[in-house]
Symmetry: C2
Amino acid sequence: MATEAGKKRGRRPGASVTRQKVLDAARACFAREGYAAATIRKIAGEAGVDAALVMQFFGSKEELFAAVMSISPEALARFGAAFDGSAEGIGERVTRAYLDLWEGDPADSEPLLAMLRSAITNERAAEQLREFVQARLWDASGDKASVVRAGIASTMLIGVVLGRRVIRVPALVAEDRESIVAAVAPAIQVVLAPTTGS
Amino acid sequence: MATEAGKKRGRRPGASVTRQKVLDAARACFAREGYAAATIRKIAGEAGVDAALVMQFFGSKEELFAAVMSISPEALARFGAAFDGSAEGIGERVTRAYLDLWEGDPADSEPLLAMLRSAITNERAAEQLREFVQARLWDASGDKASVVRAGIASTMLIGVVLGRRVIRVPALVAEDRESIVAAVAPAIQVVLAPTTGS
């Protein structure tokens, strides 16, 4: 399907394919290098197009970034479901949901990694990451202590992802996802449901 | 005291003061913006000196970065001590040591924040952060599971710092350090000493 912009400017059908190539390259490049280091020139090179064409499609690096920062509603729904249900086992459900989302399908994990890597230099990325963390907080039962606990659990899990995918601590990179879940879940259980035990 | 470089080139005593001003500005700028976004020009501006002088002192941004990436041996010793001693209470000792180091005296916390913010685009920063995490892992009792557990505890704590100081999740920023310790320590206890209970 041609994009709205493509239709308006009467581009040939190939334009939407090219546009998607640019989006894919941008998502991978922002995820790998973060906002500050990813350049339009680099992204255009990886997409195999001219930098001028990228600017023609998106106008600016900021707008291109905004265009790739989306996570599929399906992934978010799966993720949200982990927080529902009984307190028993919530540590494992939430830990598994985090790792599945952040380390799973690149279509969903790359926008998150791009946000994480870019949050340091780009206020829009920091805001989106804040919103991602806070979206889970609204679901917390409402009292202040629960909100703080949900925020702590989220940032702890982001820390583990950071250790595996950005800092790349060898001992953590070497572990498979199930071993990480086994070690992390009891801690997240203690944070989210301190009275149920681990 | 004049620096070695200052003496060799016969600079007036003021040179070491100026050099220190550049180091202080660089440390703060790398901590705030990360390696990719901090520029020599910006650092020179904050130090109130000419960019050419910064280059004369340090040669390159990479070398300036290396010069500011040091944490005092006293702080590291205090930090290391938290991991010693009995398993009972280790969660609270380590949590407190992490927050004291990362959120305390800027002379020690700014190099760490600079490493964290720069690890994304700068391999030297990623390596130093990896070494910082791993230095603690060598102290783990030696079996593979303990090394993984120490790595998980470290990255979880870095995640909490990231949430407070980089992503700035409002619910976490609003909490004082003691409330954070109270919520986090039992989780770190479960990770580091799973059999002692929290």
